[in-house]
């Protein structure tokens, strides 16, 4: 188990914190992802865990040992580097097997071969890093990290240089391998698809602050704040500023579009809020609102439609073709169970998925479904 307790990092004498008061718990055998844009503090966090940077405040405990004062050599962690960091004079094979000692019942060469097969680098095992492509070096670096018997495996953007198809295949294989061997892993990535596909839990970071730590489903269905709601999910959630009116929400803008939500307990009258609606949650062709189609593209399995509603951009994803031409005005709406409300000032979530009489049925249906 890895425990980060109120971890902070300041560089030099600067008062700006690259990581602010971060507390995380990672169970044995769990695969978690630190997700965020560049400069969000995820790599600083990883480097503090590995021991390349000293934590300014807080503690790191791994498998019951305080490790934040130990040199990297004694932390029992393995790491795949974003910049590969392979040993230049050694072959890929020797890089992967570096420092692995043969024990009864354990043959390092066997493990190297297995990892080479898994990551499809068998043909380059005898070659040196200098002559390899970025993608090959990256897989060699990942294999080297996964070959280690460590308490914790740190993977810093381990697949950034790979082709999309290969990346998709390897995600599943690496995840399966970590589960089969019971490896505790921390993945650092800016790619939410990768985090989604591999991680049991995702820690979303922004500005050095942990925004939310939860399963991919929790992040999608119950985002803790507006940042997570708009960052996580593709295409991003539609965020519509509004104020609470008498019988629903009044959207900001020239036309004062109304979202009537009868029977819903809303925040006090006049509260400024942000209405969050996932592109999948908006239905086209029926509803109280009307908007002008800006673009309508069928991507083979889903339709992406961009609409203009009184100056607001709304993106809708539908699973069937939408017969609407650019420039035409079509109705649209949403079910109250799909809405998210955020405090306009703090961005904190106020409510997720209101249950009304009409949506209650479908809500319970979904719960009891397969």
């Amino acid at each position: 188990m890895l425990l980060l307790d109120h971890l902070s990092k300041a560089y030099g004498r600067s008062t700006v914190r690259a990581v602010k008061d971060l507390s995380l718990q990672i169970e044995d055998g769990e695969f978690i992802a630190l997700l965020g844009s560049s400069g969000c503090g995820k790599t600083s966090t990883l480097r503090m865990i590995a021991g390349f940077e000293a934590a300014t405040e807080g503690s790191i405990t791994l498998a019951g040992r305080r490790i934040d004062g130990l040199p990297p050599a004694q932390r029992r962690v393995a790491m795949a580097f974003e910049g590969y960091a392979l040993y230049p004079p050694l072959t890929v094979e020797d890089n992967i097997g570096f420092g692995l000692a043969a024990k009864p019942g354990f043959d390092p060469r066997q493990r190297v071969r297995e990892l080479a097969d898994l990551l499809e680098i068998g043909p380059i095992l005898k070659r040196k890093p200098a002559g390899l492509s970025g993608g090959q070096q990256q897989r060699a670096s990942l294999a080297r990290a996964l070959a280690r018997d460590a308490e914790l495996h740190l993977l810093d953007e381990p697949m950034g240089q790979l082709e999309p198809q290969l990346r998709a295949i390897l995600r599943g294989r690496v995840k399966a391998l970590t589960k089969a061997r019971g490896l505790t892993s921390v993945l650092v990535t800016h790619d939410q698809t990768e985090a989604n596909a591999m991680a049991d839990r995702i820690a979303v970071m922004e500005g050095g602050v942990l925004q939310q730590y939860g399963t991919p489903t929790e992040l999608r269905e119950q985002p803790a704040n507006l940042f997570v709601a708009t960052f996580f999910g593709e295409p991003p959630m539609n965020a519509l500023p509004a104020v609470v009116g008498n019988s629903g929400l009044i959207l900001d803008g020239d036309d004062n579009t109304h979202a009537s939500l009868p029977g819903v307990t809303l925040p006090p009258l006049g509260t400024p809020v942000v209405l969050g609606l996932r592109p999948h949650a908006i239905t086209l062709g029926q509803g109280d609102w009307a908007a002008t189609v800006i673009s309508n593209r069928w991507l083979g399995d889903e339709a992406h439609v961009a609409l203009d509603m009184g100056g607001r951009l709304i993106v809708v994803v539908a699973h069937h073709r939408i017969a609407a031409r650019t420039g035409s005005v079509i109705p649209l709406g949403f079910a109250p169970r799909d809405l998210h409300l955020f405090d306009a000032k703090t961005g904190q979530a106020l409510m997720h998925g209101v249950q009304t009489l009409s949506s209650q049925t479908s809500f319970t249906e979904r719960k009891s479904g397969p």
């Binding site: 590995a50 040199p71 050599a73 392979l86």
Partner: protein, 285 residues
């Protein structure tokens, strides 16, 4: 097309020849002079087919020079030995001090770090004469004047900044991640420094060592002021050939030829190694 090609090649040949003649003619001239007697050197107009002789080399190696005013003792071989000793020891000391310092400046940001590095570089800005007078007085006070230790110490003004700044650049170019990977694999900081950082910066260290060796070897003014005859390197020792009976051009030429041989040999030897190291470095990453 073919004609333009020929013309281009011809012009290039001419340009290359000019450059080679410009740089190599003085050396050719010196080598030629070293095999001539002082009389033929000073002959006007010079002969194109001079009578070549080994007498300059014989005089240098035997230590006895016959001139019109009598026999002069030459300490050339001892001077050559002094040069080897001073340059080698200075470079070694500068490597021992400079490489870890360069690593520190490259890897760690610490208070005043840039200022210290720049101060060390600034030794190269100041004219040596600026510091020589106070140094002479200090050295006499603390008993370092006319000692090898004192000279090697002063030679650090030449060698240390060169090594520090060149090697620092090489350390900065190498990604620290390889060292981190090695440390995560269970090795100490010191092991990562000696087994990973230094070999990766090897070509840079070799280049810096070679350069500072040449600079130390060619130094004149420090040794002139701070050393007496028995500690002087060849650069200062050559002054002995400006004798009462005239300037011994032939001897000076022979001395120059002999004194560039060690640096030339070192450069040729290191060049092979440098090219290998640098081409390995060029494709890494």
């Amino acid at each position: 097309m073919a004609q333009a090609d020929m013309l281009w090649r011809g012009l290039r040949g001419v340009a290359l020849t000019l450059v080679v003649v410009f740089f190599l003619f003085p050396i050719f001239w010196i080598v030629l002079m070293s095999f001539e007697t002082n009389e033929t050197v000073l002959q006007v107009p010079p002969t194109l087919t001079p009578h070549l002789t080994l007498q300059n080399y014989v005089a240098l190696l035997s230590g006895k020079l016959n001139t019109a005013t009598g026999i002069i003792n030459i300490t050339f071989l001892h001077n050559l030995w002094n040069s080897v000793l001073l340059s080698t020891c200075s470079v070694l000391v500068a490597l021992i001090l400079g490489v870890p310092a360069a690593y520190a400046f490259a890897r760690f940001r610490f208070r005043g770090g840039e200022d210290i590095a720049f101060t060390l570089l600034s030794f190269r800005f100041a004219p040596p004469l600026l510091v020589l007078l106070p140094l002479t007085l200090y050295f006499q006070d603390i008993g370092l004047s006319n000692t090898y230790v004192g000279l090697i110490w002063i030679y650090q003004l030449i060698c240390l900044p060169l090594i520090l700044w060149i090697v620092r650049g090489y350390f900065e170019d190498a990604s620290p991640d390889i060292e981190y990977a090695y440390r995560v694999d269970g090795h100490s900081w010191w092991k990562a420094f000696t087994k990973i950082a230094i070999p990766l910066a090897g070509p840079g260290i070799a280049a810096a060592a070679l350069l500072s060796f040449i600079f130390a070897w060619n130094n004149f003014v420090f040794a002139l002021v701070l050393a007496s005859a028995d500690k002087q390197p060849v650069t200062v020792g050559a002054l002995a050939f400006v004798t009462a009976s005239g300037i011994q051009y032939g001897i000076i030429a022979a001395a120059i030829v002999l004194s560039i041989l060690p640096t030339l040999a070192l450069a040729l030897y290191a060049q092979r190694w440098l090219v290998e190291g640098l081409s390995l470095g060029a494709v890494k990453g």
